[in-house]
Symmetry: D2
Subunit: 336 residues, 4 copies
Amino acid sequence: MIIQLNPGISATERSEIIDVVHSFKYKTKEVNTQKGEYVIGIGKTDFDIRQIGTLDGIKDIHIVSDDFKLVSRKWKVQETEIDLGDGVKIGNGHFQTMAGPCSIEGEENINETIQHLKENGLKIMRGGVFKPRSSPYSFRGMGLDGLKMWYKAAKEAGIKIVTEVMQVSQIEEMYDYVDIYQVGARNTQNFNLLDELGKVDKPVMIKRGISGTIDELLQSAEYVFSGGNERLLLCERGIRTFEKASRNTFDINAIPILKEKSHLPVVADPSHGIGLRDHVEPVALASVVAGADAVIFETHCTPELAFSDGQQTLDFRESARLIKKMDELIQWRNKI
Amino acid sequence: MIIQLNPGISATERSEIIDVVHSFKYKTKEVNTQKGEYVIGIGKTDFDIRQIGTLDGIKDIHIVSDDFKLVSRKWKVQETEIDLGDGVKIGNGHFQTMAGPCSIEGEENINETIQHLKENGLKIMRGGVFKPRSSPYSFRGMGLDGLKMWYKAAKEAGIKIVTEVMQVSQIEEMYDYVDIYQVGARNTQNFNLLDELGKVDKPVMIKRGISGTIDELLQSAEYVFSGGNERLLLCERGIRTFEKASRNTFDINAIPILKEKSHLPVVADPSHGIGLRDHVEPVALASVVAGADAVIFETHCTPELAFSDGQQTLDFRESARLIKKMDELIQWRNKI
Amino acid sequence: MIIQLNPGISATERSEIIDVVHSFKYKTKEVNTQKGEYVIGIGKTDFDIRQIGTLDGIKDIHIVSDDFKLVSRKWKVQETEIDLGDGVKIGNGHFQTMAGPCSIEGEENINETIQHLKENGLKIMRGGVFKPRSSPYSFRGMGLDGLKMWYKAAKEAGIKIVTEVMQVSQIEEMYDYVDIYQVGARNTQNFNLLDELGKVDKPVMIKRGISGTIDELLQSAEYVFSGGNERLLLCERGIRTFEKASRNTFDINAIPILKEKSHLPVVADPSHGIGLRDHVEPVALASVVAGADAVIFETHCTPELAFSDGQQTLDFRESARLIKKMDELIQWRNKI
Amino acid sequence: MIIQLNPGISATERSEIIDVVHSFKYKTKEVNTQKGEYVIGIGKTDFDIRQIGTLDGIKDIHIVSDDFKLVSRKWKVQETEIDLGDGVKIGNGHFQTMAGPCSIEGEENINETIQHLKENGLKIMRGGVFKPRSSPYSFRGMGLDGLKMWYKAAKEAGIKIVTEVMQVSQIEEMYDYVDIYQVGARNTQNFNLLDELGKVDKPVMIKRGISGTIDELLQSAEYVFSGGNERLLLCERGIRTFEKASRNTFDINAIPILKEKSHLPVVADPSHGIGLRDHVEPVALASVVAGADAVIFETHCTPELAFSDGQQTLDFRESARLIKKMDELIQWRNKI
């Protein structure tokens, strides 16, 4: 059960509400986010909400039978819109494309990419400075210094930044230099990280786990929301299956299912979803017509020389062609 | 290695070619299809084709490193076109939508569906008369009598038929009443069935196995082709994964990968691919922009009352809307 | 609902029972096997059996909530025993080991293997004469002639034969030359084949599908049982997962789960289950202590030269060592 | 390439070795653990070790073609033995059983369990005080205070403790109260956590990821080893598959494969591996005969009342029976 509280509710009203909810055998969790205050009732599912609906201080009450509550569309039918400032919005009818290299590689790489993005009308750049790598001997990214260099150049160019945060201690040091924190597929169930990201007032994009279910992704988002941060995006990036012809199996089904279950915007990552440069385009286009609110893909001036993920990275010519096709499909989508 | 023979090659020339190929330690298989004669060289992969290229009777020679040979795009770059007659073609730029009930249920069901197809410009009707069912106690279809009734009505209306053949003994009895034989997901590796379908001059649509790989699907097609029938279609219908929110995981990646690896047309089955009526449309649309040559989906006058698969079956209003949207995307696809 | 009928029930009694069951909105299926006669009531699950329990001709009535009925342990707690004659039994406390080559390769191969089996006290030889192969260009087995040659030698040596039947037309021609029909992993849901094997009075061992669930395996067994043949064995042979270090993932869990859900004997196939010669032994031993009623594995005089599956085939020295260790564990198992 | 350095190597010798290795185009990583000093050469695989073998300060050189180096059995054939003190050892012939509740629940729960362990000859107790939970609203464990209470009681009773560490900040605060740090299945690829555990001189048990491959588990262990801590255990706990009859699919194959690929001890977790209380025993026994160096399972005085995982937790009577059976199989294993 989700109880939305009135803005400016008094402490007395609030505590009375909680007492009454407890008296009906619910456990409660109080949630305060950027946009509102909530009391979550947990553990009981059969209940007549009229029994508490008349208490002072309550704006609205919703029974949500899903295990995830606050991210469920059962109480919030209206799609959530993530506003990055400067007119850059995602969700609720606003579509964005995010592109950039797998790893941030240096000043030249940053500038070339920003130039490419601007020429093609993109507003958000992706790139990794903290890289999770299976092997301890692989390149692990340029770190905080790389992020600062990148942010400075992006800021000047009017470009927003999305990049992965790998651990709690990085949240604060990255704070001034990111527009969207990305939680990677290996950290989808790093619950401490999710808890801490709940305390931050910056958008968080959570990638689905490598073999994570749709429900687990929504539960992970619930962690951040119930921690106090409701500026969330969900990202489908392919799941692990027996198929070896592709790196992962992009779960196109997840897009309409996530949008039905949750009010949060859904981002598609076709680069990891198929892992084959030649076929990133059709998967990206498929995501758009399936209803994605954003697409994130890897592009690099010369993918053959990229520090990582070159095999799934588009060059700028391929990237420009994809962006143009996506624009046409977005127009078609907006028309119908 | 694939050796294409000249039409009208003499027996002497043919046997000399085979002798020479054997002398290079290849095993051979002779293949005669509707469209040509081939000698397949098996078992050796390092070879200079000039050593046999000058023999009389040879039209062309191709080294194909894939395990599947005749269905590979490495020797036949041109996309295969399946001509069902009366101007109904699939592949090589021709797109078709096939629709109909999961099971053929009777005369009224047939007539309503045909009417719906004609109103919406479709040329091919799907439906099952032999139904593979997990439980022996479930409805197993109307059988041959149902097929004859259906075919009569469809023929009169100018509608083609695609339906599943489950066993060797059915091939002949169904022959006069089908336009496309469908091999179901549980029979993808029923090699005897594939062998026998190789001897028939009717198109065959092979569905990917429930957890079949892309390579296995192509190998299964190779069975039919090398048996003598090159009028083949490949169908992606979702694979089995750990995800429980959908019936299967539609593998959108498979569409561009199959089209890269093979010259055969690729059909998408979003109904089985997601298994959720409300979300068949986005998956179907995604398939179209990802490059499918055809889409096959389930529709029924009143899905709630369908004998089987009602939970993934569109009603006629939803079906009409989907067909219209697909038409628009096909136009967009043809334009770019 | 399963109604066991009295032996020698009259036609009038039988038809009265069926009428009454129909009057309670059940559909019925009559099943006559080697061991008994049953009426299966399908489609209704809430019912007081006392309402029909007093009818003449009824031996016993059981409500079975599983989708599979006759193979369920909910009505038959006693484990089924498969008697192959000459004192060779499987299940209900009787353990057997079956071994032999992947493919039957010829007289010498047959004789060497039989010799090896006899020296190590085994009673059942495995081997394929009809081989399902992913590629149409691979060796497909010696066929019926090979089977006859094999059977003659085995019969003389007092060895029983288990071998795969791939299609309906082979059932009859193989009948005189097999002791156990094997249904392969690609045919687990070849329902026509299962239907026809229901009409035969020879034991049938059904392998789990390549990505088949435990429930699907039981449903497939239900096909054969409800077709009239209750001499059935279930075989776990590994499932397809994302793991690439082994050919399949042997599902050790399936052994105790199958034995809880069904009264049928459970056979373990560690050769396909892991696909690595060096590790067949530990998986076989694990199966024994997990409760398998039989183990089937591949052995060959010189695995390096085997026509197929050499990488997972034990040589005779390894085979003898495994058999000895299994014997010790069976003794331990019988003691506790 | 792994270069083992002589104890007491001089700084000059060391830097000369590294220079020479660099001159052959290797990158290097210096590793100092509790037991030795190593230089790892990365990135080149074709090399004649005699070219550097004569340098001063080198104890031994090994070419390791695996992506994981230090945990590979290709350079260290001898099995690693983890010594927990007081004669409690795991690996290299020493077998241990670890048991206890899913979550530490309080003093009574601790004392009952310790009592049970002592009565049955166990030396290591498992239990969670920091619990990773899919839902933010579930019980998350007693935390550090619970750990201290538990450790005090265990220490007095001569029992060692294994418990999960979820994040970097917990490593230090837990240090005085654990005998083995456990890395959970959701943190197998939490690379920062692994890096930091490399700096600690306490054994670390790494669980395989929920859908992690065997190679990924070994790479994760490589992180800790190359960080400086070679006191490592690998734990198989079941992987995620399509099968729904069990919680996970216990990968019995992983036990012999891990032992072949690595010198580290392998622990089996049948409780999570099957997730069904009635069937934990056969999977545990299977693990023992498949070669596990330790088994960890969940037990509780009254599983029905356990705070978490009750459905897969043995009561003390079941636990005692399992321990006794494992003892017998260990004796059998030691004898052969």
